[in-house]
C-alpha cells in the first residue's frame, strides 16, 4: 500500500520581461508530476540536465514552492505542512544531496551535525541523544572517534555516508537522494550504493533516487520514471523501462548509455544512430504541438508511457 | 540593451523622490534656522519673525516640500543667505571647477592604477608585485590632508612647479590658450594628489581579478592554442579582468566628486566641496540641501553609469 502520493505536482517559475518587467511567461520546471511511494521500495527519477528532476525532489520535501498539485502523506494532505518545523512529514521525509560537503555546516562538528535532526524532532535526554548518534555512526560504519571532527576532515565517500547518517537519524520513511554519488569516484560510489541498499533492507526505507546516471538508477531502483521537460514520459518497473521502452525519448536515452563491452561497440553505434534518426523523424508524434509530453497512458498495471491516444495522431 | 538602460533610468525616478524627501526632512531637523546666523544684538526680533513668515517657515511641511521641489525642478534652489546670490549660480560655477578636477583625476587614477594592477597581478608574489602592493598600502594609509600638504609644500612651495591655490591665474585672459593652460595647471596638483589616493582600490581589485583570471580554463585554452603569453594577457586575461573595473568607473567618478572636500580646502580650490564646508559653517540651508541633493543625485547617476558600461562591455548582459 502506498504511504505517500504526489498528485499533479507543478513548479512554474515566472519569466519577467517586457518594459515593466511583468510576468510574460513561465518556465515549466515541473509540469504535472504524479508519483506514489510504497514502503521499502526504491524509485528512480532520471532525465537529462534541466528536465526538472531535482526541482521535483526539492518541491516534495519543501525546498521549492509548489505552484499547484498536492502531496498526501499517510492519507493526509500535507501540501501546506511541508515547510513547517516539527511536522511528522518533515521528520519522515529526508534528503541527501549531491555535494555532501557544502550541505554540512563547516563550523559544526560531526556530533552536532548528526544530533541536529534528533534535537529537532525527538525529545531525548542528552544521554539518549548521544546513544542515538553512536548508533547512527555504527550504521554508517564509522567509529566514535569522528564525533569531534569537522566535515573537511573526511573524504568524499565518508562525507556522503555522514549525510546518509544525518538523513536516517529520525527513522525516516522516505529518503530523497539527489544525485548522491555523482561526485564520487567509481570505487567510492560502489561503497555508498552498497551501503544505501543495506540500510534500505534493514530499515524498510523507501528511496526517491534522482540521477542522470541510468546505470546507477537501474542498479538501485525497483520503479523508474523518465522525465523530459518537466513531465514524466514513461514510468514502470526496471524491466518495463530497460527491456520494453515505449516512449521514443526513453529509447534514445537508453541507447546513449555507454557500455563496457568494446566488442559490440560498432553494433551499438549503429543502433544508436538508428534510434537518433528515428527520434528526429518521429519525435513530433510523441509530443504535442507545444513540444510537451502527452499525459501518461496505462500500458500494463505497472507500465505507463506518455503516448498520443490512438486516433489522435 | 536599450531596454535595460531605459528601465534603469525609470527606476531612478522613485529613488530620486525618496532621496529628496530624506534630504528635506533632515534639513528641517537641523537645529536653528537660517536667520540664526543673521541675528546680531541690533536685529529687531520682529524683523526676523517677518522674514520667517515671508520665507514660508510656518507653512505645513508638505507645502514647504512641494514649493521646494517645484522650484528645484526649475533650477531654483533659492538664495544663499551668506553669499546673497542664487544657489544655482553659486553651485554652477563651483560644480564646473569640481567637475574638471574629478575628470582629470579619474583619468589619472586609471592611467596609474591599470598598469600597476596588471603588473602586480601578472608578476604575483615577485618583487614587482610586492613593491606595488606596498605602494598601494602606503597610499591607502596616508590621510588625504597629510599627502595634500606634503605635495603642496614640495611641489608648490619648494619646487614651485605648480600654483598653490585658486583655479586660474589672474593675469590670464578668458578665451585664450593661456587661460585654458592656466586652469589645467591649477588643477593638476590637486588632481595628482587625488589620483594617488584613489588608486589603491583599483590596483588591489584589478590585481585580484588578474590573478583570478589567470587560473580560468579559458586561459588554459588560449595557451593550448599556442598563443604567446603577452597576447594571452592582452586578449584574454586583461579583457576579462577589466570588466568589473569598467563597472567601477561610475562609482569612481561619484566618489571623486563627493570626496573632494579635503582636497579643495587644502589647495584653496573653489569647488563644491569647499562650498559645502563653508555652507555648513554658516548654516546656509538652501545651499546645503541643494548640495546634498546634488551629491545624492550624482551617486545614483554613478550607479546608472556603471550599469550602462557593464551592459555595453559584457555580451552576456548585452545579448540575452
Amino acid at each position: 500500500m502506498s504511504f505517500m502520493q504526489i498528485q499533479d505536482l507543478c513548479v512554474h517559475y515566472p519569466i519577467r520581461g517586457g518594459f515593466f518587467n511583468t510576468v510574460i511567461d513561465h518556465i515549466y520546471a515541473v509540469d504535472g508530476i504524479s508519483l506514489s511511494f510504497d514502503r521499502g521500495k526504491a524509485y528512480g527519477l532520471v532525465g537529462e540536465s534541466g528536465c526538472g528532476k531535482s526541482t521535483t525532489g526539492k518541491a516534495i520535501i519543501g525546498l521549492e514552492k509548489i505552484t499547484s498539485g498536492k502531496v498526501f502523506y499517510e492519507g493526509q494532505d500535507v501540501t501546506n505542512q511541508r515547510r513547517k518545523r516539527n511536522s511528522a512529514y518533515n521528520r519522515d521525509i529526508q534528503m541527501i544531496f549531491q555535494d555532501s560537503h557544502s550541505s554540512m555546516n563547516p563550523r559544526k562538528r560531526v556530533l552536532d551535525i548528526l544530533a541536529e535532526p534528533i534535537r529537532n524532532f525527538m525529545s531525548l535526554s542528552p544521554q539518549e541523544e548521544r546513544k542515538r548518534v553512536n548508533e547512527l555512526l555504527e550504521i554508517v560504519g564509522m567509529n566514535e572517534d569522528v564525533l569531534l571532527k569537522y566535515p573537511h576532515e573526511f573524504s568524499g565517500g565518508q562525507k556522503q555516508r555522514l549525510g546518509i547518517a544525518r538523513a536516517v537519524a529520525c527513522n525516516p520513511k522516505l529518503i530523497i537522494a539527489d544525485e548522491p554519488v555523482s561526485a564520487l569516484d567509481l570505487s567510492v560510489q560502489a561503497q555508498v550504493l552498497n551501503f544505501m541498499k543495506d540500510i534500505q533492507e534493514e530499515y524498510g526505507l523507501s528511496y526517491l533516487f534522482i540521477s542522470h546516471d541510468l546505470g546507477v538508477v537501474k542498479h538501485m531502483c525497483d520503479y523508474i520514471s523518465v522525465m523530459y521537460k518537466g513531465r514524466i514520459v514513461e514510468s514502470g518497473t526496471r524491466q518495463d523501462i530497460y527491456e520494453n521502452p515505449q516512449h521514443i525519448y526513453t529509447s534514445r536515452l537508453l541507447s546513449a548509455i555507454p557500455s563496457i563491452d568494446p566488442e559490440t561497440r560498432m553494433e551499438r553505434k549503429k543502433i544508436r544512430q538508428q534510434v537518433e534518426l528515428n527520434y528526429l523523424k518521429k519525435q513530433h508524434k510523441y509530443y504535442d504541438e507545444h513540444g510537451k509530453a502527452y499525459p501518461l497512458v496505462d500500458l500494463s498495471p505497472t507500465h505507463k508511457a506518455a503516448l498520443a491516444i490512438a486516433g489522435r495522431e | 540593451m536599450w531596454k535595460i538602460i531605459v528601465r534603469r533610468v525609470l527606476v531612478m525616478i522613485p529613488q530620486l523622490f525618496v532621496l529628496s524627501l530624506i534630504v528635506f526632512i533632515m534639513a528641517k531637523q537641523m537645529p536653528g534656522d537660517p536667520f540664526t546666523g543673521l541675528i546680531t544684538p541690533e536685529t529687531d526680533p520682529n524683523r526676523i519673525e517677518e522674514l520667517r513668515q515671508l520665507s514660508g517657515f510656518y507653512d505645513p511641511w508638505y507645502v514647504q516640500y512641494y514649493n521646494w521641489m517645484t522650484n528645484a525642478f526649475q533650477g531654483d534652489f533659492g538664495q544663499s543667505y551668506t553669499y546673497k546670490v542664487a544657489v544655482s549660480n553659486l553651485i554652477g560655477e563651483r560644480a564646473f571647477n569640481t567637475f574638471w578636477l574629478a575628470f582629470v583625476s579619474t583619468i589619472l587614477v586609471y592611467v596609474i592604477a591599470i598598469p600597476l594592477g596588471v603588473l602586480a597581478g601578472r608578476y604575483q608574489e615577485r618583487i614587482m608585485d610586492k613593491t606595488i602592493v606596498l605602494y598601494s598600502f602606503i597610499s591607502y594609509a596616508i590621510p588625504t590632508f597629510v599627502l595634500g600638504l606634503i605635495f603642496l609644500f614640495v611641489f608648490g612651495y619648494q619646487l614651485q612647479w605648480f600654483p598653490t591655490s585658486g583655479t586660474v591665474s589672474i593675469h590670464a585672459e578668458r578665451g585664450t590658450f593661456e587661460y585654458v593652460w592656466s586652469k589645467f595647471h591649477h588643477l593638476l596638483l590637486p588632481a595628482i594628489t587625488y589620483a594617488v589616493l584613489g588608486t589603491t582600490g583599483i590596483i588591489q581589485y584589478l590585481r585580484t581579478e588578474i590573478i583570478d583570471a589567470k587560473m580560468q580554463d579559458y586561459v588554459k585554452t588560449a595557451r593550448s592554442k599556442g598563443i604567446p603569453m603577452n597576447k594571452v594577457y592582452s586578449r584574454h586575461i586583461f579583457r576579462n579582468s577589466l570588466l568589473p573595473i569598467a563597472a567601477f568607473l561610475g562609482f569612481t567618478i561619484t566618489g571623486l566628486l563627493g570626496g573632494s572636500i579635503f582636497i579643495e580646502t587644502i589647495f584653496g580650490f573653489p569647488g563644491m566641496g569647499q562650498l559645502f564646508v563653508s555652507s555648513i559653517g554658516s548654516r546656509d540651508y538652501s545651499v546645503i540641501t541643494a548640495l546634498v541633493l546634488l551629491y545624492g543625485f550624482l551617486a545614483l547617476l554613478g550607479g546608472l553609469l556603471s550599469d550602462i558600461i557593464m551592459s555595453i562591455v559584457d555580451p552576456r548582459i548585452r545579448i540575452d
Binding site: - | D217, S224, R316
Partner: protein, 332 residues
C-alpha cells in the same frame, strides 16, 4: 607502427612545502598514428597531470618534470615556453572538460577559433574566416555563419564542446589530447561527441590521448587503454583485452564496481581502504598492496615493473597471478 609520441620514464613532481612528491611516477607510454589511447583512473591518479605536462601547460613554478617526452626526435621535457607555443594548437591540439569555462565569455566563437591560426598558419583574414566556417561544418554545427558571431553563452553545452573540438582541429594536428571531454555533458550529447571524435579521428588519422575516469567512455571509443593508479600505469592493453580479460587487481575491482545497465542487481565491488594522498604514497613495493590486504606479501614484487603477459598487454607487479576477490577467497 607509426609512433607519434613516446613518453619514457616520466616523473612529474609537485612541490609541497619545499619537498617534491611525484604525482606521476615512472610512466612510459606511446601514442601511434590513427589511434585513441585512453588513460583511465580515479581522481588523483595523475592522469590529468600527465596530459597537461606533455604540452607544458602545468604550473612551471611548483612542478618538476623529469624523463623523456619524445616527439619528432625532440625531448619536450626540455622545451621552453616559446618552443611549446610552436607545437600547441598547431600539431598538438587540446580539448578540455567543461566547454563553458574553457571558452572566453567575451569573445565571439569565430574569433576564438581563428585565434589559433594567426600564430600557426599562413592564412590571410578571409582564408581564416573560410577555414573557421569549414571547421564548424566539420564538427556538425548547424548554421556556421550565424554561430561565428555568437558568444559562448548563447550555445548549448554540446555545441560548445563542438566548438572546442573545432579549436583543437584548427591547424590539422597530429595529436589531440582530450581531458575528460564528455564529463560535463548529458549522456545523449556525450554519445554524439564521442561519435564525432571517433569519426574525425578516423578521417584525419589523428592520434588522440583520451583522459577519462569513465570506463564506459573508454569501451566506446578507445583502441588502447592504460589504467593508472597512484601515479603509475598498472595495466596497459588493447581495449578488447582490457575489458575481456583484465589482469591487474585494480582493473578487475574497478570493472566490478560499475553499476552496469546490463548486469543483475547485486553487491558492487568495493575496494578496501582509500587512495593514499600524494604525500603518504608508499614509494616502495606494490602500491596497490594495501588495498588487497588478504593477498600475501610474497605475491608482490619488491620493485614492481610492467610485465608483458601477452603481446601488447602489460601488467604491473606479479600479484595478479595470486589475486582473487576477497569474497571468493572466503568462500573457498
Amino acid at each position: 607502427m607509426n609512433k607519434l609520441l613516446s613518453v619514457k620514464q616520466l616523473r612529474i613532481s609537485f612541490r609541497i612545502r619545499d619537498t617534491f612528491y611525484a604525482a606521476v611516477d615512472n610512466v612510459s607510454l606511446s601514442l601511434h598514428k590513427n589511434e585513441i589511447l585512453a588513460i583511465v583512473g580515479e581522481s588523483g591518479c595523475g592522469k590529468s597531470t600527465l596530459a597537461t605536462s606533455i604540452v607544458g601547460l602545468h604550473h612551471t613554478n611548483h612542478t618538476k618534470v623529469e624523463g623523456e617526452i619524445l616527439y619528432r626526435q625532440q625531448n619536450l621535457v626540455q622545451f621552453s615556453e616559446n618552443q611549446f607555443n610552436k607545437l600547441r594548437g598547431n600539431t598538438i591540439g587540446f580539448i578540455f572538460q567543461d566547454p563553458l569555462s574553457a571558452l572566453n565569455p567575451l569573445m565571439r566563437i569565430g574569433e576564438q577559433i581563428a585565434e589559433g591560426m594567426i600564430y600557426h598558419a599562413r592564412l590571410n583574414k578571409t582564408e581564416r574566416a573560410d577555414r573557421v566556417l569549414q571547421l564548424l561544418e566539420q564538427v556538425g554545427i548547424p548554421d556556421p555563419p550565424r554561430v561565428v558571431r555568437q558568444f559562448p553563452h548563447q550555445l548549448s553545452g554540446g555545441m560548445r564542446q563542438r566548438v572546442m573540438i573545432a579549436i583543437a582541429l584548427a591547424n590539422k594536428p597530429e595529436i589531440i589530447i582530450a581531458d575528460e571531454p564528455t564529463t560535463a555533458l548529458d549522456v545523449t550529447i556525450q554519445a554524439q561527441i564521442l561519435d564525432l571524435l571517433k569519426e574525425l579521428q578516423a578521417e584525419t588519422q589523428t592520434g588522440i590521448i583520451l583522459i577519462t575516469h569513465d570506463l564506459g567512455v573508454v569501451a566506446e571509443v578507445a583502441d588502447r587503454v592504460a589504467v593508472m593508479y597512484a601515479g603509475q600505469v598498472v595495466e596497459e592493453a588493447p581495449v578488447e583485452i582490457l575489458f575481456g580479460s583484465p589482469k591487474h587487481p585494480y582493473t578487475r575491482s574497478l570493472l566490478k564496481s560499475i553499476p552496469q545497465a546490463n548486469e543483475k542487481q547485486g553487491k558492487l565491488e568495493v575496494i578496501h581502504g582509500i587512495v593514499p594522498s600524494l604525500m603518504k604514497l608508499p614509494r616502495e613495493g606494490c602500491r596497490f598492496a594495501p588495498r588487497i590486504p588478504w593477498i600475501d606479501d610474497s605475491a608482490h614484487e619488491k620493485e614492481p615493473v610492467l610485465h608483458e603477459v601477452e603481446p601488447g598487454h602489460f601488467v604491473r607487479c606479479t600479484c595478479w597471478r595470486h589475486f582473487d576477490f576477497q569474497e571468493e577467497v572466503q568462500l573457498t
